[in-house]
Symmetry: C2
Subunit: 521 residues, 2 copies
């Protein structure tokens, strides 16, 4: 029996983003007990860092995780950032696809999903409201507000239950959330390791963490430099598509396409616009809304052929060699470390990115598996540890493609080595909503390989020098052991005193002179 279309469409409806993700929470990374809790830490920590740095404050976070019952926790997370103005509080925590980071700027967050995802998970597993205290500067005073609220999923909005003003003497946000069906773990994918890795890439931050056993960890900063604030940069001509130009043209307030181009793209002077006009024959004095798709396509094609200066690098703030080294030394205490920060490059023609890599050897480098040490990869994007989906990530792919034997590491798998890779970009090409792996763009793979091979060569030199020093040491020991004996026996044979041999011994052992003291034996 056939059914009519109208009947089939009776059930047609639209969901809000919150409703959608309530049905698909695994798409926010919330799958599995350990992973779910790690993702919560990730979302709250990255938001606090972004906010503090943007406000020019050295980030300091304190986290208190209490176990109420098996798989049931209360999480208190407090930061010293600029706070959230009252009008924005529930929008930040209860509206999905809302945020201040939808710009061409390097930031840890990009999607406006993180904080509201945590509130959603809390509400879905415990039914408890979120409790937030926000202190923010308003002119000369600090305003403080305390609120409890729930997320109204059908509206994708907050539902305020209580609200009162509070006196605070500093800015920042505290949030208290309860979770069930999550689990705290010391494993590689657990919340503790997440904090530890975060500290390597953020040596300017301080995190105090009280774990469910009551133990208090203080991860102090090893640097007190606030990273320079990344600037929002205009998109580079080689990074825009025809669709981008048409989208800009549709939503601009400029009156000429010419001025839209110079004001919306980097490296785009009046001179370049005139070149484009001459090469394409398109009148760029027309109104933006009159720009046709075919014309936009011709302009983008021309961009592809033109030479432009690389994107402005003010938009990209790498951690920096010195800072990464501080972070690695603080956390891994290795016997050797090498770090490199590459020059900015672009992928897809115009999205700029920087690759930084570090390699640590010995000490606490590598991960411990049973009694053994295994090599460890620590992946980061914009200073944020990537904990899951390792297999599909550009970083894993690039590192696996390196022939480690060429760098004197015969058994990479079982070496006490930690390789650190951080990708900095205004637009990291994540493979999934959970932001846990980076798309293997050819240019990104290339940069990771180059960076890693460079520091692998330094490690090779260190390992070779260590080996040579060990051999030298052995050789010296042989001379030190035998020269005195030979001299003594020769003296007896010759019926003479043992001569002064310190100079000779020092020469062959290449060590400071040792006084011959054979006679005193």
């Amino acid at each position: 029996m056939e059914r009519e279309a109208s009947e089939l469409f009776e059930e047609f409806k639209e969901l809000t983003a919150s409703e959608f993700f309530r049905r698909n929470k695994q798409m926010l990374g919330f799958s599995g007990k350990i992973r779910s809790l790690t993702i919560v830490f990730h979302e709250l920590i990255t938001n606090s860092f972004d906010a503090a740095e943007e406000a020019g404050i050295l980030p300091e976070i304190s986290i208190d995780l209490k176990r109420v019952d098996k798989d049931h926790y209360i999480l208190k997370h407090r930061d010293n950032g600029p706070g959230i103005p009252e009008d924005y509080l529930t929008r930040v925590y209860c509206t999905m696809f809302a945020g201040s980071k939808f710009r061409n700027i390097q930031s840890r967050g990009q999607q406006g999903l993180g904080c509201s995802g945590c509130v959603l998970l809390s509400q879905m597993t415990t039914g408890k409201p979120a409790k937030v205290i926000s202190g923010y500067r308003d002119g000369n005073q600090i305003k403080g507000v305390e609120m409890t609220f729930k997320m109204d999923v059908k509206q994708n909005k907050g539902l305020i239950l209580e609200r009162k003003e509070v006196d605070l003497d500093s800015t920042g946000v505290s949030i208290e959330l309860q979770f069930k069906d999550v689990s705290y773990s010391l494993s590689e994918q657990g919340a503790y390791e997440y904090i530890r890795r975060t500290m390597i890439a953020n040596p300017h931050a301080k995190i105090t963490f009280r774990d469910p056993t009551g133990h208090k960890y203080i991860f102090d900063r090893s640097s007190s430099e606030i990273p320079p604030l990344p600037k929002e940069v205009l998109p580079h001509p080689k990074g825009v598509t025809a669709d981008d130009l048409i989208f800009m043209a549709k939503h601009t307030d400029k009156r000429r396409f010419r001025s839209l181009l110079t004001s919306s793209l980097s490296r785009m002077s009046n001179k370049r616009v005139t070149e484009i006009e001459e090469a394409t024959g398109i009148d760029l004095n027309k109104r933006p809304k009159d720009m046709k798709w075919e014309e936009a396509e011709r302009i983008v094609d021309l961009f592809g052929q033109m030479d432009f200066m690389a994107p402005p690098t003010a938009g990209l703030i790498p951690i920096g060699k010195e800072q990464i080294e501080k972070g690695i030394r603080e956390i891994l205490n290795p016997e050797f470390v090498a770090v490199t920060t590459r020059k900015p490059k672009t992928y897809k023609g115009g999205v700029s990115f920087i690759v930084e890599a570090g390699i640590a050897y010995g000490g606490s480098s590598g991960r411990v598996v049973g009694e053994q040490k295994k090599a460890e990869i620590m992946r980061f994007a914009n200073r944020v540890p990537l904990t899951f989906d390792q297999g599909s990530c550009a970083i894993t792919e690039a590192l696996k493609s390196i022939d480690w034997k060429r760098y004197g590491i015969r058994d990479m798998e079982n070496a006490p080595i930690t390789v650190f890779v951080n990708i900095i970009s205004t637009n990291v090409p994540y493979l999934s909503t959970g932001k846990q792996s980076v798309a293997p763009e050819a240019e990104i793979l290339h940069e990771i390989r180059q960076a890693t091979m460079k520091i692998a060569r330094s490690l090779q030199k260190y390992i070779n020098a260590k080996k040579a020093a060990k051999e030298e040491e052995m050789r010296s020991k042989v001379f030190e052991a035998y020269v005195p004996v030979v001299l003594k026996e020769a003296a007896i044979l010759a019926e003479r005193d043992v001569p002064e041999y310190g100079d000779v011994l020092a020469k062959v052992t290449r060590k400071p002179k040792i006084l011959g003291d054979v006679n005193n034996e």
Copy 2:
């Protein structure tokens, strides 16, 4: 210099779902040229199948893919489904998170993203509008409408450019879309292979496909049974959370919590409700809105301890042994095939699912790599081929965990074998928005293993029998060769005629009698 929160929040804004996915198209599966085109095929085909089957029509699709230029294609996709009423046309194709499948029903689509994702990709890469012709039954007549439209990304809505009524004599939807930056490929992840696999799991469908070279492939149906229509089933008590109960209570029109329970959950009789009332001491005659979280939690805890019948199986329609075998024989033409459909099980306590598995040996089974055959895994969920993210999928994990040597397959990797696994569920736990891999829930892994091991045993028997038959054949050949010679020589020695030995030979070779014809040699 510190900055104030209010300044930082100047850039705060909300995105629509379309805006969000325009910025993150890789989250819809659109990454890479080959993958992007395969995902388009996937979305359009699954939508056509779902619609046709829901309307009780045997699905028939024709696809025409024209190459305009390198990486630039025009795709025409036409189905014979019930059509889309005019009022819903742009909502289906231009509104994200909109659809008719947000129910507890087995369907290929679940998310309301697919079709609108294709329109978005087309628009983003070519700027061209979509052109749709829809024919749908309205009472006794067929209405026909032709529309071209674009997606207004800022509004998450359609923008109609042209519209006219057309005369049609059958129902169905044709859509014409243009794409750039996509690529047609014959590889395992390409569009052609996607269609081939679709046909294995959907032997009742017919697909005509004209490829960019102009070659027309007709994949005819090997079965003309429309799969029974899956029924929407009420959620099983073991599958609901406290959050679900509270959500239902908030949005119900029932006046008593008791009647909400019996009308919203399966296996929930008045008797069971009374049991719950007695065990928890909660008054279930209260209004749904008065249900507290703690009470809902206690009820859900109790659900966990109670025995319920398994979820109604009317909601799950497996492909079925016979149909899968038809599909496999039609497409792979193997020398051996074994298929099994397991009984419905539940994961997470109450979401029911069925695992079906098939194994094909010889013929076109396995994938060809160079000159060699390699084993091949074909993953499906609700009859839809899963083409990407193989590594993280429950199906891959389960199959890898099987010790194939125990089933007489010494080198599984290099065997001419195709393993087919299909997971049927009202709620397949996909790992990502791209719906390409299934979460490794313990119960799902178990079922895949059990199903596969069962058919692996059949394959083992077949391989053993084949080996035994071969040995028997060899043995018979030995008798056939030597018995006549021995008899002849013996007869000569005994100076007698060669006796009739057909009966004896037939007995030892276990073959029909062969007349001794030695004398005629």
